[in-house]
Amino acid sequence: MKKEKKSVKTAENTLPSAVKKTERELPFYVVKRGDAEQTFGRAALIRASAIVIALLLCGIATIFVTGDNPISIYATMFKGAFGDAHNLWKTLQDLAILLCVSLAVTPAFKMRFWNTGAEGQVLISALATAMCMFYFGGAVPTPVLMLIMVAGSVLAGVIWAVIPAIFKAFWGTNETLFTLMMNYVAIQLVEVFLKVADKSGSNTVGPSLLKHGWFPELFGQKYLLNILIVAVLTVLVYIYLKYSKHGYEISVVGESENTARYIGVNVKKVIIRTMVVSGALCGVAGLLLVAGTSHSIDSNLVGGRGFTAIMVSWLAKFNPLMMVLTTLLLVFLNRGSAEVTTKFGLNTAYSEILTGVILFFIIGCEFFIQYKIVANRSHKLFKKKGGSENV
């Protein structure tokens, strides 16, 4: 974690006067924006324009691929995401699951613990849920089964998250690589279960084998319970991070380990405790995926949400309420472009390309929030015109 600090150490002394100005210099140089310039409005404007530019670009690309007119393409995307009740529920459900995983990774990221293992943490919890359904389903009364499922999935998520945390806390083991590797261990464990549970050699264990322990429908909506659970979790995580003592310690450790030491915070304890929370939330996500959504398990069940969640959380600057919006953006893109691909008979991977491009733009635009490019007036390029422009 100490390593992160080096890059964070901001250039308070990067005075423009300290920038050398010789003929060999480039025509532009980069200056860190003063803190006064980093206003919320400006940042929002830069981010919004990045998204708009990216959407336009994707629209243009789609025109080339499909030959349709742009308005109709955006209309199709909108229809795909929010067009009718079915699509809307599906969108909300996707939003709930992705948001849940994003909530799970957020406490760790706030602490600058780069957990790239949410994929595995969710999957292992999904596996635990499925195993509870498979082995205890029908053998115990439903409420008991539900309890076992909750306990099992949360415990699995916690174990998967806390192992790298312990090694990070005591030996400084690189958490990015450790958690990444744990994903693939989880995938293979699921494969083992698939082979054990379904002797036919299929690569999913489906609803026919996991008959018990399904989440009930509320008001005739099978996804409503998921959505409500995630809504409650969002508020809880927001409160936890913002108003609890734990959340405060997480922020201090993330911002400056030195300050944490200065006030006597046990950094090791905070790292481990926070990953327990992260893992438990991943556990809930796994539970929702299996018991509340698919009623089946396969090794691709999480479908990259663990990685997408990292971007959701990072884009929202680790604010759970903002994450509702960033999740919505990604889910909209995904569902919208899926609609475009079906309408024009493209293959489904097209939406991944669009998502990728838009992410590139959003990631790239952060630079312009923190830095500005200033024309080097002494450069010969500007000697004649004599003008300088601030971007």
Binding site: T10, D35, K245, T259
Partner: protein, 513 residues
């Protein structure tokens, strides 16, 4: 040939924002000469040398190398002018060998480890270094790393060498070895500039001494014709009256006792060497010393942030006279023992405060654990924040502003305000007025005086001797991790403190060559 200076600085001025680091400096170094640059902390020595090594570019003035005007705008340019600087913080890649570090960045065609080692050994033999080209940097002691830095510079063919406080990290024996090497270089016709605080070293090694004070060049004297007393006077200057109020200490009782404290760094260097003193209630104890002499370690040891290798730190509880041992306790445990200790660290935004948090949240850093609830109580800190903003006249849009947006003086007011608010019985402050304007500085002095009147034991680490002499009741001087003396703040002279600051064990041994 000897008439032309190897380096000549003419009217060099450098400013950072509104702070003038160097003003109209004129100075020269000849070939085959060792020039010492002497000055207190913040007198602009390093900035001046950084302009020669291409890290900074002067705002005004000229630099002449061998009589020709030079434009040095990058370290690469400096190499081209055969200038090599050995920085205080070594710029070495830890997992590389000495040889690999030495040739790093040089592009002269083929890469021939054997040839490099041979050349390194040639240089070493010529000047009397001991160096193993295949040894990894992380396996090296500090003195060896320094040798690598020097060879690195010589390998590039430097004729002008600048050493920034090279002896700060060396033992007396290692210093003698280094000096032997420097004399060898002088004999070889190289121009050597050495920055140091230690007077006996200046007298022992240099041919001439240039003295800087507050960014200005005061004088250059021939070493043979000067004395320690004269140099001290030139360095510290005349006493300046600041008119800081000072009451007579009252009701002085022993509050905090440090006895025989030792502290060794991971490299085995003694950071604190048998330090003993007592801080009394109702007085301000000043700590003077060259930067990096162990002040930070001492305060951190008391605050529970530094592991001790020996000694005791005890605290007398003013309420019941109970004696508490603080050794090997962390800040949280110290607090739980009922010790009311406040600490304003040197690194304000990196340790004392969290830059990205607002003033209210920074108020909570020390007190957020209060109460059994798992939630934070932001009401009290918010009131405190507003109180401090009002009483200390902090310029800020509000209590919800992140502290990194505040100016240096306001940041310091927030930090000191918070530390005082917990009604401490011991208050430690490190360089509390560094970077502050006059008004903010006086606000801080007044706050410290109020605390003193309230019976707090105040420990003040400062760098400006004038301030220390007007504010403190007693001044303790620390040099190389050792206490070199404790003087009375009212009766001592500036020269006396200056002498204690530069006095080291080595000087006492009278081992001046």
């Amino acid at each position: 040939m000897n008439n032309v200076a190897a380096v000549e600085l003419v009217n060099v001025t450098k400013t950072f924002g509104s702070v003038v680091a160097n003003r109209n400096v004129n100075m020269d170094v000849k070939k085959g000469e060792i020039l010492a640059i002497l000055g207190e902390n913040g007198s602009g020595k390093t900035t001046l040398m950084n302009m020669l090594s291409g890290i900074y570019h002067p705002d005004e003035g000229q630099i002449f190398i061998d009589g020709k005007e030079a434009q040095i705008s990058s370290p690469k340019d400096a190499f081209a002018y055969r200038i090599g600087m050995i920085h205080q913080h070594f710029k070495l890649v830890d997992i590389f060998t000495a040889a690999e570090n030495i040739v790093l960045g040089i592009d002269d065609g083929k890469f021939d480890p054997k040839g490099i080692s041979k050349k390194v050994e040639e240089i070493s033999a010529k000047y009397g270094f001991e160096i193993d080209p295949s040894k990894k940097i992380y396996e090296m002691a500090v003195s060896e790393k320094q040798t690598v830095e020097i060879v690195k510079v010589l390998y590039r063919g430097a004729d002008i060498l600048i050493l920034d406080e090279p002896t700060a990290v060396l033992t007396p024996q290692e210093t003698q070895k280094l000096f032997a090497v420097l004399r060898q270089m002088r004999a070889d016709g190289k121009a050597v500039i050495i920055i140091t605080h230690k007077l006996h070293e200046v007298l022992s090694i240099s041919d001439r001494v240039a003295i800087l004070r507050k960014g200005e060049h005061i004088a250059t004297v021939n070493t043979a014709e000067t004395s320690e007393t004269e140099l001290t006077e030139l360095m510290v200057g005349q006493k300046v009256a600041l008119n800081i109020e000072r009451d007579a200490p009252q009701g002085c009782l022993d509050r905090l006792t440090v006895s025989h404290v030792n502290c060794v760094s991971r490299e085995g260097v003694k950071l604190l060497d048998d330090v003993s003193f007592t801080a009394k209630s109702g007085e301000i104890l000043g700590i003077a010393g060259i930067a990096g002499s162990g002040q930070r370690e001492l305060l951190e040891a008391i605050a529970g942030l530094q592991h001790l290798d020996g000694g005791e730190i005890t605290y007398v509880n003013p309420k019941n006279g109970e004696i508490v041992n603080l050794r090997d306790k962390n800040p949280k445990q110290i607090k739980e023992l009922g010790v009311r200790l406040s600490f304003v660290p040197e690194d304000r935004l990196g340790m004392g405060l969290v830059g990205n948090m607002d003033i209210t949240d920074n108020m909570m850093l020390r007190s957020y654990r209060r109460g059994k609830s798992m939630f934070l109580d932001r009401k009290r800190p918010k009131n405190l924040a507003e109180e401090i903003i009002k009483s200390l006249q902090v310029v800020t849009p509000g209590a919800g502003t992140p502290v990194r947006r505040l100016s240096g003086g306001n940041v310091q007011k927030v930090l000191v305000g918070r530390e005082i608010a917990s009604a401490p019985s011991v208050l430690m402050v490190a360089y509390p007025v560094r970077g502050l304007d006059i008004n903010s500085s006086y606000t801080i002095y007044n706050l410290l005086n109020t605390q003193k009147r309230n019976g707090v034991a105040v420990i003040f680490v400062g760098e400006d001797l004038d301030v220390l002499m007007e504010l403190c009741d007693r001044i303790m001087v620390i040099g190389s991790g050792k206490i070199t003396g404790i003087v009375d703040g009212r009766s001592c002279t500036k020269e006396e403190i200056g002498y204690l600051m530069t006095k080291t064990e080595k000087a006492e041994e009278g081992e001046n060559a």
